[in-house]
């Protein structure tokens, strides 16, 4: 109920009746147990658990060494919309992965609120977690790969956005370590991501609450000896229950900063947070209560530079995801409206239908070009705050509209789960509000 609603006596009786009816119906039909199990399965981890414990990240004492960083992409000065050969090869491989692995697994993953181990393993095999990791540290990156990452995220989300997020979540952490990690942090954490047994990991920025602003966090970090104590709650964290390493955004001395938090740290608890969409990404809340981390935990600077770039690059990744899913909508509705007949002819012979398709095409290409511009600027080491902001506005606004129109074009058939458009409708709504989770 919203705050303006109140229950009068009749309302109370109805609420009670509702409860009784549910109870007796469930019991009479023997449905109580299955119903409970469904709730349990959907939330997977039960109500609240401690962080996943699997491995220990052995500290590599190399303090003071030089971290590995890749250089910016070259600046050619020519307007060009052609991907490089390397990027094209990557996109082709990921497109096939998205079509053959993600799309067929999407409906089931949506129901079970998780990606299967097979899917996640395949994602690791095609190199998603090491895309932005420098070659010197076991990755494949020789120059700043924001553009490649954008193209890859787009291609993945054409298969399924929820699964794309699940597959990309560890890469967000390895990318952040590559971009801002110290020598010690890279030596301690990156080897796990470049090996065969890649841990689940997540970038946790979003917090629960209306009008969330990632520059104005409620989560705090306070210096304590040579370490920090963190308090706060993070929301919509992908694969939180399985994650072994988090990067958490928190305010340190009035400025937002990034902190590495291992899941086994005392005071960290996880709660499943099934949401409207992105269910395959196993979204979670991560609560930090007096979580004490060492001096190694602070990732990047304390001037909010790394943090702000992180927020921007994460938004960029979400834009890329929205483009992929919006393209999936367009590719799906075109044959549908051409084949579906009403009043004796294909419904696409009508302007009201055809113009909706045209506008999906127009706005989608606009979203794509502005996102690419932001990505190429990021890769070239130019400022990209403006471009990311504009891309995000477009992708939030028109991504939602494309999801909405996708369902509308299928009519009642769009509303049922026989078609994937209702899932895309739910997934595309995330773009305007979600922060963190993915990174390019």
């Amino acid at each position: 109920m919203s705050s303006s609603d109140s229950r009068d006596p009749t309302g109370f009786a109805m609420a009670l009746l509702n409860k009784l009816a549910q109870t007796s119906a469930l019991d009479k039909l023997g449905l109580r147990k299955p119903a409970e199990r469904a709730v349990f399965e959907a939330t997977k981890t039960g109500f609240r658990t401690a962080g996943h414990v699997n491995r220990a990240f052995a500290r590599k004492r190399r303090k003071g060494g030089t971290p590995a960083r890749v250089a910016s992409a070259p600046r050619k000065g020519i307007f060009d919309l052609t991907p490089t050969e390397d990027e094209q090869m990557l996109v082709d491989a990921v497109t096939e992965f998205a079509a053959k692995v993600l799309r067929p697994a999407a409906a089931e993953a949506n129901e079970s609120c998780r990606a299967t181990d097979d899917v996640l393993r395949s994602g690791v095999e095609i190199g998603l977690p090491i895309l932005a990791v420098p070659e010197d540290l076991g990755g494949i990156s020789t120059e700043r790969s924001a553009m490649a990452g954008t193209l890859v995220a787009e291609a993945l989300a054409k298969g399924d956005m929820g699964l794309a997020v699940a597959c990309l979540a560890p890469g967000a952490v390895s990318t952040a370590l590559s971009l801002w990690g110290s020598d010690e942090q890279q030596a301690t954490y990156l080897p796990a991501f470049t090996g065969d047994d890649v841990p689940a990991a997540a970038l946790a920025i979003t917090e629960p609450g209306p009008l969330f602003d990632p520059l104005d966090l409620a989560t705090t970090a306070v210096r304590d000896g040579d370490g920090y104590v963190l308090n706060g709650v993070k929301s919509l964290v992908p694969r939180g229950a399985d994650a072994e390493l988090f990067i958490v955004g928190a305010i340190l001395e009035d400025r937002p900063a990034l902190f590495l938090v291992e899941s086994a740290t005392k005071g960290l608890t996880i709660e499943a947070e099934p949401s409207m969409g992105l269910r395959a990404a196993a979204l979670s809340r991560v609560a930090l209560k007096n979580v004490r981390v060492g001096s190694i935990a602070l990732l990047g600077d304390t001037d909010a530079e790394a943090y702000t770039d992180c927020v921007r690059l994460s938004r960029l990744a979400w834009c890329a995801l929205s483009i992929g899913t919006a393209q999936a909508v367009l590719d799906y509705v075109i044959p549908y409206v051409n084949e579906r007949e009403a009043f004796g002819e294909p419904i696409s012979n009508r302007q009201s239908v055809a113009f909706m398709v045209a506008n999906i095409g127009i706005e989608l290409q606009g979203m794509r070009l502005v996102t690419y511009k932001a990505a190429s600027r990021a890769a070239q080491g130019k400022s990209f705050d403006r471009e990311v902001a504009l891309a995000r506005r477009l992708c939030a606004e028109y991504g939602m509209k494309i999801g909405n129109d996708g369902v509308q074009l299928l009519g009642g058939h769009g509303f049922v789960k026989e078609h994937p458009v209702e899932r895309w409708y739910r997934d595309l709504r995330a773009i305007g509000l979600i922060e963190g989770g993915v990174l390019v």
Binding site: D80, P83, L369
Partner: protein, 404 residues
């Protein structure tokens, strides 16, 4: 390599165009808006300067004629940034100055683009230096340009033209008009050809000039053709009536000119955005790119959405021009650019008037003028609805018979 920055080599061109806009167009903007139908004589000097720049090669082929696609095979498969992109970028700057005055620029008419697009080399040379306007629309035919009634009948070495054309931009001031006429109405769209008719040809009369909502510095003429004879060599392209080729040839002009009109809308809207941003800053509203729009003021959030839509329109337009430069078919992208830029142009300029309040609505500033000027850009060279039809047909794989 994907890169959507303004090409380095066009920066001097853009700088020049911007100087023209600042020093010549803006100072005359209000004057000729109020003095509708007065000839903006300041532009003659400017046109001479632009011609000089073309001759010196400094303009890299920008302008209305910059849309010509060379028949020669490109010497290599490297990515080109050529005259289509240059034209779009310079038009954006000029229309940041004034759309109406850009449309009144001698020798920069849409007819020049048509000649550049479909003329053979002999014609291209013969009509070089002419200021050519474009006459398509008729009193009974607007968007349905395949249905035109103006006729051209071959008589000896001449075609004889009969009919009435309206909404001819620069129709009074130009040196020649590119007229669409049908060789045989029975044969449908394939029989529609374009003819270059020099001013002063007997039988061609400018009947009146329109009084308009915007672009008032640009003259919009009604021209009547009565037994108007033009040499048959003035038919642009091939005189054959080929069901496959005919109309497509004439329509191909639009693939080149639509990005130019989109560029006009982008330039005009940018003028509104820039001034509005300054006015908002004076009122204490600044735009923060990093904070979510919804946590900022409604004015800032509105501005962010407008700027985002503008950026999409801008890049769609650059894309269409870039494809033309690289000899890729761009009908779909040209129409996408025109559709987006056309509606963004109107939306942005009108909303900026609202944000600026009475300063926006009164003639103290040019905001109200820009919101009048921009409206035509969502209409001519194919309305919003025509662009959507084209985009829809392309995406859905439909003919004009199936999707009417």
């Amino acid at each position: 390599m994907i890169n959507l920055e303004t090409p380095k080599k066009f920066r001097p061109l853009i700088g020049q165009a911007h100087q023209v806009a600042v020093n010549l167009l803006r100072p005359n903007s209000r004057k000729y808006d109020l003095l509708e139908h007065a000839y903006p004589k300041e532009l003659d000097m400017l046109a001479a300067m632009i011609d000089g720049m073309s001759d010196s090669g400094a303009s890299t082929g920008a302008g209305a004629s910059g849309v010509r696609r060379s028949e020669e095979e490109p010497e290599d498969d490297r990515v080109k940034n050529g005259s289509n992109l240059a034209s779009v970028l310079s038009i954006i700057e000029m229309c940041w100055g004034d759309v109406g005055l850009l449309l009144s620029m001698p020798r920069q008419g849409l007819g020049n683009s048509a000649i550049a697009s479909v003329a053979n080399d002999e014609q291209h040379e013969r009509f070089d230096g002419l200021w050519a306007s474009m006459a398509i629309t008729e009193p009974g035919t607007g968007s349905d340009s395949a249905n035109i009634a103006t006729t051209a009948v071959l008589d000896g070495d001449d075609y004889v033209l009969n009919g009435e054309k309206i909404f001819v931009t620069a129709g009074d001031r130009c040196d020649a008009v590119v007229v669409w006429a049908t060789l045989d109405k029975e044969l449908g769209r394939a029989a529609i050809k374009s003819f270059v008719v020099p001013k002063g040809t007997p039988g061609m009369n400018v009947e009146r000039l329109e009084h308009k909502l915007g672009i008032r510095s640009s003259d919009t003429a009604t021209i009547r053709f009565e037994n108007c004879r033009v040499p048959k060599d003035n038919l642009l392209g091939s005189p054959d009536v080929d069901a496959q080729q005919g109309f497509a040839g004439a329509m191909a002009t639009f693939d080149n000119t639509r990005p130019l009109v989109a560029a006009m809308a982008i330039g005009c809207a940018r003028a509104s955005l820039e001034l509005t941003k300054d006015l908002l800053a004076e009122a204490g509203v600044t735009i923060d790119y990093d904070r979510p729009a919804l946590t900022q003021s409604a004015a800032a959030a509105t501005f962010l959405q407008m700027e985002a839509d503008w950026e999409a329109a801008y890049l769609l337009t650059l894309q269409a021009a870039w494809m033309a430069d690289n000899r890729q078919p761009n009908s779909l992208e040209a129409s996408m650019a025109k559709a987006k830029a056309g509606r963004v142009g109107s939306d942005v300029t009108l909303r900026c008037v609202e944000l600026a309040g009475s300063i926006g609505y009164s003639e103290h500033e040019l905001l109200e003028k820009w919101s009048r000027d921009s409206k035509i850009l969502d209409i001519f060279e194919g309305t919003q609805q025509i662009q959507q039809l084209i985009v829809a047909r392309r995406l859905l794989g439909k003919s004009s018979a199936e999707l009417k």
